[in-house]
C-alpha cells in the first residue's frame, strides 16, 4: 500500500467519520491538571468581601474565571472520569448519588440497576440555560443516579415531603432487590436523604452562583450559558427567602464530608474551578443568611510595603486614611503603625488625626517581618488666625481612591474621608487604583457630606486617563445620595478635565461641593483637590501627647496576676496566668509557679449500667460512665469489675447468609430475626470466585484472556496490505468478545485503541471506494460511444 495513499485521506472523510463515530468514541477529558489552574491552597486568596452581594459577586467571578475547561455531557457518563469524581468501594463501582451506595461503573443506558446522568438542577427548570452543555455538562453539577431513581425524581423540585416515610423510594438492582434507600418523593417534591441534603444544597448554590449572569449576583463576568436563575426554580418553597432558608438549613444539617471533598478535588483537576460551598460552607450563611465571613489573614511575608498616599498635607483637626499594599499581592498586609514625633499627628489602623503644626513620619511595619516597612510623610498646617474669635484655617484636602475604605464591590455609593471632610461617590469599588465612574450607572458623581473647614475657593480635578466633562456645584448644605446627579447649589460650570488637571475657581461661602459627570461611558479620576479659605472658628485644642504604657506583672493569686504600667498609674488590671501548655508550671509573664496535677482515675460500680470515675489524688469526681465490656459475651466490666448477667431472654444468633446481588448478601438470624443486615461478599483472595459465607459465585478476570486481547490490539498494523490490516483488527475484535463484562472494564484503554484502528480502517476503505467510483465514472464516459443508441 503506497504511503501516499494513506496520506491522501480527505479532510471531509475524516470529519464525517469523526462525527459518525462520536457515539462509540466519546471525548476523553485530559486527566492531567488543567493548565494554568491555580493551586487549590491559594484558590480563594482573592476573596476579600465579608458577606452579602459583594461576597457573592467575588465568588461568582472566581468560579467563572477559573472554569477553563467545560466538560461535556459525554464526559459525565465516561466511566474513567466518574470513577474519579464518584468512586465506589472498588474499581468496578461508582457511587450512586441519592443513596451513596455502590453501583456498577459500567454505563447502562437506562437499564434498571444501572446509572445514568442526573441533572441536580433539572434542565426543565434551568430557564433554557442548559440541556447537555454548559451547565448541563458541568461535573460539579451532573451526578450519577440509578436510572429508576432518576426517573422517579423526574423534574420534581427539592423540598420537604409530608409523612415522608410512607413515600420512600429505593435504589433497586436489576433483580428488583432493594440496594439502599434513595429519598422521598410525593406531590411533585423530592426530599433527599438527610445525609445527602447538604450535597444537594451545595450543588444548587454552586449552579445558582455560577450560571447566573454576573450582574444578577454582584459579579462582573458572564459564564458559558449564563442567564437568570432563582432558587425557587429548583426548590419547592414558593418564595425565594423560604427557598434560601431551606438551603441554609440543609447546608448546616448535613455538613461537608469526605465524599464531597474528594469530588471537589477531582472536578477541580478537570475543569479548573471548585465548588466554593464545599471548601467554605460558611459562605452560604455569609451571603444569604446572617453570617459573616472573615477572610483569612495571609501568612505570606511581604517583601515590601507601600503606603498610599505617601505624602499628606493636613490641617490641624483633620483626618486622613492611609492604606497599605503588600508585595506580593497575596502577602499579609497586617502592619503595626507608628509615628514620630507623637505630638503632631496620631495614627490608628491607618487613620491619621492631626493635632499640631509640624512634620511627622508615619511608619507601617509588617507584623510578619519587622524588617519590612514603609513610611509616609505628614505635614500639618497650623490653623491661621488668633484668639479674637476670628481664627482662620485655610487649607486643602485631596480625595484619591485611597480615601475610600471600601476595596471591593460593584457600582454603588461609597464613603470617602480626606482632610477631616467626608463625602460620598458612586464608583466601582473593585477598581482600587482610581475612582471609576460610568454614565450608564444609576448615579455618577462625587460630593461632600460634611463641611470643609472653610469656604471652598478652588477645586482641581485630575483624570487618570483621557479627558471627560465634569460640572462643579457648591452649596451651603450637605449633599446626599440621589439617583442620577445632584443639581442643587451654585453651578460653577462644566469643564473638560484632563490628566494634567483642571480647576474651578470658586467664590462665596459654600463649604460643600458636588462634582457631577457630564460625559459618556467610563471615567477615571486620579485626584480631587479642594482648597478652602479662612473661616470663623475657635482654635482647636491639641491633645496631650500620647503615652505608651510599659507593662509590669505581679503575681497575685493562684489563678491571676496584676498588670500595671511602670511609668504611670492609669493602668491596673487583673489577668489570668499565661502558661505555654498544660504541663507548663511557670506563668510566662509573672513567674508564678503552679502545681500540675495528673489525675489517677479509679472506678466504682454505681448500678447495672454505670460506674463513677474519680481521681485518687484529688478525689475530684469527673463523671459516671457506662460499663465497658470486651464483647457481647463478656460479663465483667473492664473498668469497675461489675458482673453482669447474660442470658434469660437473650440467645446466641444463628446467622444465615443469603446471596443478594453481585456485591452483597444479607445476614439474618434464623431463630430470632433481630439481625437483618447487608454486608459485602467475602472472598479469600483476588482469585477466589466463591463467597465464603453465602456461596455467591463471581467472575474473576481471566488474565490470559486479558493478555490475549492486549496482544491482539498491539499487533494491529496498517503497514502491510489492507487484508492483513483487516485481519489483525478482526483478531482483536474476536479477543475482545471473548472477555467478560468485568474484564472489558479493565481494558478500556486498549478498547479505545481498537476503536481508533477501526475508524482509521474505515476511513481508508472509504477513500478506496471513492477512488474506484471516480475511475468507474471516467470509464463510463469513455464508453459513451457504446452507450449512445
Amino acid at each position: 500500500m503506497g504511503k501516499s495513499l494513506k496520506k491522501a485521506i480527505s479532510f471531509w472523510l475524516c470529519l464525517a467519520v469523526g462525527f459518525g463515530l462520536a457515539a462509540f468514541y466519546p471525548s476523553v477529558v485530559s486527566e492531567t491538571t488543567v493548565a494554568g489552574a491555580a493551586s487549590s491552597a491559594n484558590y480563594y486568596s482573592g476573596i476579600t468581601a465579608t458577606g452579602g452581594t459583594q461576597l457573592l459577586g467575588q465568588v461568582h467571578d472566581l468560579i467563572v474565571e477559573t472554569h477553563t475547561h467545560y466538560s461535556t455531557y459525554t464526559d459525565c457518563k465516561t466511566p474513567s472520569i466518574i470513577k474519579k469524581t464518584d468512586p465506589g468501594s472498588d474499581s468496578s463501582h461508582v457511587m450512586e448519588f441519592y443513596s451513596q451506595a455502590d453501583i456498577s461503573a459500567s454505563w447502562g443506558s437506562g437499564a434498571v440497576g444501572t446509572w445514568n446522568r442526573e441533572h441536580v438542577w433539572c434542565q426543565s427548570h434551568s430557564n433554557g440555560l442548559w440541556g447537555e452543555s454548559g451547565g448541563g455538562g458541568d461535573l460539579h453539577h451532573i451526578r450519577p443516579a440509578e436510572s429508576r431513581v432518576n426517573s422517579t425524581r423526574n423534574n420534581n423540585q427539592y423540598g420537604t415531603v409530608s409523612n415522608r416515610d410512607s413515600h420512600k423510594i429505593y435504589y433497586k438492582n436489576a433483580g428488583g432487590s432493594v440496594v439502599a434507600d434513595a429519598g422521598y418523593n410525593a406531590g411533585g417534591t423530592f426530599e433527599p436523604l438527610d445525609k445527602v441534603k447538604g450535597d444537594v444544597a451545595r450543588i444548587v448554590m454552586y449552579v445558582y452562583t455560577h450560571y447566573n449572569k454576573g450582574a444578577n449576583v454582584g459579579g462582573t463576568l458572564n459564564s458559558n450559558t449564563s442567564g437568570t436563575l432563582h432558587f425557587t426554580d429548583i426548590m419547592a418553597p414558593s418564595s425565594e427567602s423560604a427557598a434560601i432558608e431551606l438551603l441554609l438549613e440543609w447546608n448546616e444539617s448535613d455538613p461537608v464530608d469526605a465524599i464531597e471533598r474528594t469530588r471537589n478535588e477531582a472536578v477541580y483537576e478537570i475543569q479548573g474551578n471548585r465548588n466554593p460551598f464545599i471548601d467554605h460552607p460558611e459562605y452560604a450563611d455569609a451571603i444569604w443568611g446572617d453570617g459573616h465571613y472573615d477572610p483569612p489573614v495571609s501568612d505570606i511575608k511581604p517583601t515590601s510595603l507601600t503606603i498610599t498616599p505617601s505624602a499628606v498635607t493636613m490641617s490641624v483637626g483633620g483626618t486622613q486614611n492611609l492604606t497599605v499594599t503588600p508585595t506580593p499581592s497575596n502577602a499579609s498586609g497586617e502592619v503595626k503603625w507608628s509615628v514620630e514625633p507623637k505630638n503632631i499627628v496620631t495614627v490608628a489602623d491607618g487613620k491619621l488625626t492631626a493635632y499640631a503644626e509640624g512634620q511627622a513620619t508615619v511608619t507601617a511595619t509588617s507584623t510578619l517581618d519587622p524588617n519590612v516597612k514603609a513610611t509616609a510623610s505628614v505635614t500639618v498646617k497650623k490653623p491661621e488666625g488668633g484668639g479674637d474669635g476670628g481664627s482662620t484655617t485655610a487649607g486643602s484636602f485631596t480625595i484619591t481612591r485611597s480615601s475610600f475604605s471600601a476595596k471591593s464591590g460593584g457600582y454603588g455609593f461609597y464613603e470617602w474621608s480626606a482632610g477631616g471632610v467626608k463625602g460620598i461617590a458612586f464608583i466601582y469599588a473593585s477598581e482600587t487604583g482610581k475612582m471609576q465612574f460610568n454614565s450608564d450607572k444609576d448615579s455618577c458623581y462625587v460630593a461632600s457630606t460634611t463641611a470643609a473647614p472653610g469656604p471652598i475657593t478652588k477645586v482641581t480635578v485630575k483624570m487618570q486617563t483621557g479627558s471627560k466633562s465634569w460640572k462643579l456645584l457648591t452649596s451651603s448644605s450637605a449633599y446626599g445620595e440621589v439617583e442620577g446627579k445632584p443639581t442643587n447649589g451654585n453651578d460653577h460650570g462644566t469643564e473638560t478635565v484632563t490628566t494634567g488637571g483642571t480647576s474651578w475657581n470658586v467664590s462665596g461661602t459654600d463649604t460643600f461641593f458636588a462634582l457631577t459627570y457630564q460625559d459618556t461611558k467610563a471615567a477615571y479620576i486620579d485626584s480631587i483637590t479642594v482648597e478652602y479659605g479662612p473661616s470663623q472658628g475657635e482654635d482647636p485644642t491639641p491633645p496631650p501627647p500620647v503615652h505608651e504604657h510599659v507593662f509590669e506583672y505581679e503575681d497575685y493569686t493562684e489563678e491571676t496576676h496584676l498588670v500595671g504600667c511602670k511609668t504611670c498609674t492609669d493602668y491596673l488590671e487583673e489577668e489570668p496566668h499565661v502558661y505555654t501548655d498544660d504541663a507548663d508550671t511557670t506563668c510566662n509573664l509573672c513567674g508564678h509557679v503552679r502545681t500540675v496535677h495528673t489525675h489517677e482515675y479509679q472506678y466504682e460500680q454505681l448500678d447495672e449500667t454505670y460506674h463513677t470515675v474519680t481521681c485518687k489524688g484529688c478525689n475530684e469526681v469527673h463523671d459516671k460512665e457506662v460499663h465497658e465490656y470486651s464483647d457481647s459475651a463478656d460479663t465483667t466490666c473492664d473498668k469497675c469489675g461489675y458482673e453482669r448477667t447474660i442470658g434469660g431472654d437473650e440467645h446466641t444468633h444463628s446467622y444465615l447468609y443469603t446471596d443478594r446481588d453481585d456485591d452483597t448478601h444479607t445476614v439474618t438470624c434464623e431463630t430470632c430475626g433481630d439481625v437483618n443486615e447487608t454486608e459485602p461478599h467475602e472472598y479469600s483472595g483476588d482469585t477466589d470466585t466463591t463467597c465464603n459465607k453465602c456461596g455467591h459465585v463471581r467472575t474473576v478476570a481471566d488474565e490470559e484472556k486479558l493478555a490475549a486481547f492486549r496482544e491482539a490490539v498491539a499487533a494491529i498494523s496498517s503497514e502491510g496490505t489492507l487484508a492483513a490490516w483487516r485481519e489483525s483488527i478482526n483478531e482483536a475484535i474476536v479477543a475482545y468478545n471473548a472477555l467478560s463484562e468485568t474484564e472489558k472494564t479493565i481494558v478500556e484503554s486498549e478498547t479505545e485503541t481498537l476503536l481508533q484502528e477501526i475508524a482509521a480502517y474505515d476511513r481508508t476503505v472509504q477513500a478506496y471506494n471513492e477512488a474506484a467510483q471516480k475511475a468507474n465514472g471516467t470509464a463510463w464516459k469513455g464508453a459513451g460511444s457504446f452507450l449512445n443508441g
Binding site: M1, F24, N737
Partner: protein
C-alpha cells in the same frame, strides 16, 4: 447508428469506385490519419455485446472489480452491472467481521438519452452523450500501430478518454480487425492506485 452506417457505406462505396480506398480490407499503408479515423469508426460499429471491466488495484491484496455488460436491444441500450465496494467494519466490536467486500448489482436501461435502472444505485448517470474514446496520433506517443493492433502511451489522457482525468502512465493496447476485439487502457491514478479499463467486444 444505422443511419451513420448507411452514409459511411455509401461514401466508401463511392470512394472505392473511384479507387481511393480499399474499404473492407484491413487498413494498410494508409495515411496514419486515415488509420486513426478507421479506429474511431470502429467505435461506432455494431457489437452484439461489449463488456467493460474496470479494475482498481490499491495493494497486492486489495482491488475492486466492476463489470458493465452493454448490449443493444429493442431500440435501447441495456447495461448489466456489478460493482465491488470494500465493506467498512461499521458496527465495531461485533465478532466476527463480515466480508471484506460487497457487490452492488443491477441493470440500467438507456433510451432516448434517459437512464433508468433497477437494482443497486451505483451512481450511473446519462452524461455520456458527448463523451467517447478518440483515437488520434497527437494523443499518443511511442506508438506501435499495425494492421491489427495499436500499442501506445497516451500523453493526452483527457482527449483520449473524452473527459477530464488526473493520472500518469496511461497506456493503451487495442486489438482489431474490421472491428475492435479489445481495448485495454491502464493508468496510475492520483492516489497511487492502478486502474484498468478493459473493453472486450463481441461482434
Amino acid at each position: 447508428m444505422k443511419k451513420q452506417f448507411v452514409i459511411v457505406a455509401a461514401v466508401c462505396a463511392l470512394t472505392c469506385c473511384l479507387g481511393a480506398c480499399d474499404w473492407g480490407k484491413k487498413p494498410q499503408n494508409h495515411d496514419p490519419e486515415d488509420r486513426y479515423e478507421a479506429l474511431n469508426d470502429m467505435l461506432d460499429a455494431s457489437y452484439s455485446k461489449i463488456v467493460l471491466t474496470v479494475t482498481n488495484t490499491f495493494d497486492e491484496s486489495a482491488s475492486l472489480v466492476s463489470e458493465y455488460t452493454i448490449a443493444h436491444a429493442d431500440g435501447a441500450v441495456k447495461v448489466q452491472y456489478s460493482v465491488e465496494r470494500f465493506a467498512e467494519i461499521g458496527d465495531p466490536l461485533t465478532a466476527p467481521l463480515l466480508g471484506e467486500k460487497e457487490t452492488l448489482t443491477g441493470e440500467a436501461v438507456i433510451r432516448d438519452g434517459a437512464l433508468t435502472f433497477t437494482g443497486d444505485d451505483v451512481g450511473l448517470t446519462p452524461d455520456f452523450a458527448d463523451t467517447r474514446l478518440t483515437f488520434a496520433e497527437q494523443v499518443f506517443d511511442r506508438i506501435a500501430l499495425t494492421e491489427t493492433s495499436l500499442k501506445a502511451d497516451v500523453v493526452k489522457p483527457g482527449a483520449f478518454l473524452g473527459s477530464q482525468i488526473t493520472c500518469t502512465n496511461m497506456h493503451v493496447e487495442a486489438a482489431f480487425g474490421e472491428v475492435f476485439s479489445k481495448i485495454d487502457i491502464t493508468y496510475t491514478a492520483a492516489d497511487g492506485s492502478t486502474v484498468e479499463y478493459l473493453f472486450l467486444f463481441t461482434p
